[in-house]
């Protein structure tokens, strides 16, 4: 990595790009499909509990040859309710 530009090295860039490509190749899920899945998930959860749709993070993670769908869904207003 260069001291001034902080550009990732060719090896880092190759690894990061491959991590993304392999996840999509293995799951056969395009970024657009993942986005649609996220929308459906938000709708389903919102019927039961108050969440902030803009704060929802969803992604695919891998460990070895295993893929995992990971969602981070912050709940809305919990802190306020407790304070009141």
């Amino acid at each position: 990595m260069s001291w001034f530009t902080r550009k990732p090295s060719a090896a880092e860039s190759a690894k990061e790009r491959l991590q993304l490509v392999l996840i999509h190749d293995r799951t056969d899920l395009t970024p657009a499909e993942l986005e649609a899945l996220k929308d459906d998930l938000i709708k389903a959860i919102s019927r039961h509990i108050d969440i902030d749709p803009s704060a929802v993070q969803i992604g695919l993670e891998r460990a070895g040859r295993e893929q995992r769908l990971v969602a981070d869904i912050p709940l809305k207003g919990v802190a306020r309710r407790r304070a009141g």
Partner: protein, 265 residues
């Protein structure tokens, strides 16, 4: 004794499958093993030239399948090792001249009289690849530390798992230790982490491989070649021996610079 059938494949073309087959077959033969190589790339045969046996071809695998000759007649004996044979691919036919069951039958006929049958798969994931893996007891996936080669290797690993061929072992070919040290190339650890399969060997980039292919004499016979050493190590691992991985770290300082300059490391 019955032979182990090993298929060498890669997904992407040009990563060094044929070179790996020729070198591993020669290394096994050097250890006194009875080896039969099969060129699975019908229509684009090359294992014959890499092994230096192109002038001896009379019959090929399609002649065997279509009954024009006996299996023995299509087995070309190597120039140096009397127990190393090549069954060449047909050059003027296409992949559909061979079926997976033909490969299973040919390998079954070879098993009693050999220790290893090594099949050189064509690139791709179509018919030729399916034929090549049909009889495999074990699959080796060859890749280069490069984005497109790793991606294609991952596809092949996925297909092999879906076909219940088991998890293949990985050969990382043409690793350039200087580029890795400078973070300009994926390291062996990066590739292993991405693919998540077991490693069987790392072959450093080495000019002697090209020279060997040009001569039709695989580099395993060259005691000084680093790539040759790497292939000899893989052949020992195929025989079940526990051989430590070569130290591919680049030497620092003046001596390292001299080695790099003169191309010895």
């Amino acid at each position: 004794m019955t032979a182990q059938v090993i298929t060498v494949t890669s997904g992407k073309g040009g990563v060094g499958k044929t070179t790996a087959v020729a070198n591993l077959a020669n290394a096994l033969a050097m250890d006194g093993k009875r080896v039969v190589c099969i060129d699975g790339d019908i229509g684009l045969r090359n294992l014959d030239v890499v092994m230096g046996l192109e002038n001896r071809i009379v019959y090929d695998i399609v002649d065997v399948i279509e009954g024009r000759c006996k299996l023995r007649q299509a087995m070309i004996r190597d120039k140096h090792y009397p127990e190393l044979y090549l069954i060449p691919a047909a050059q003027t036919r296409d992949k559909n001249a061979v079926s997976p069951s033909d490969m299973v039958r040919i390998c079954a006929d070879l098993r009693p009289d050999a220790d290893f049958v090594i099949i050189d798969s064509p690139a791709g994931i179509e018919r030729g690849f399916r034929n090549s893996i049909a009889a495999a007891d074990r699959v080796l996936v060859v890749t280069n530390p490069e984005v497109s080669a790793v991606r294609d290797a991952d596809r092949v690993v996925g297909i092999l798992e879906a076909e219940e061929k088991g998890t293949p072992s990985l050969i990382i070919n043409r690793l350039n230790p200087v580029l890795v040290k400078n973070n300009d190339m994926l390291s062996a650890e990066d590739v292993l982490d991405l693919l998540g399969i077991q490693l069987i060997g790392i072959v450093p980039e080495d000019e002697s491989v090209i020279i060997g292919s040009n001569r039709g004499a695989p580099v395993v016979a060259d005691a000084k070649s680093r790539a040759g050493q790497a292939f000899r190590n893989i052949s020992k691992r195929l025989q079940g021996q526990d051989v430590p991985f070569m130290d591919l770290d680049v030497q620092n300082g003046l001596w390292g610079a001299i080695q790099r300059f003169t191309g010895r490391k």
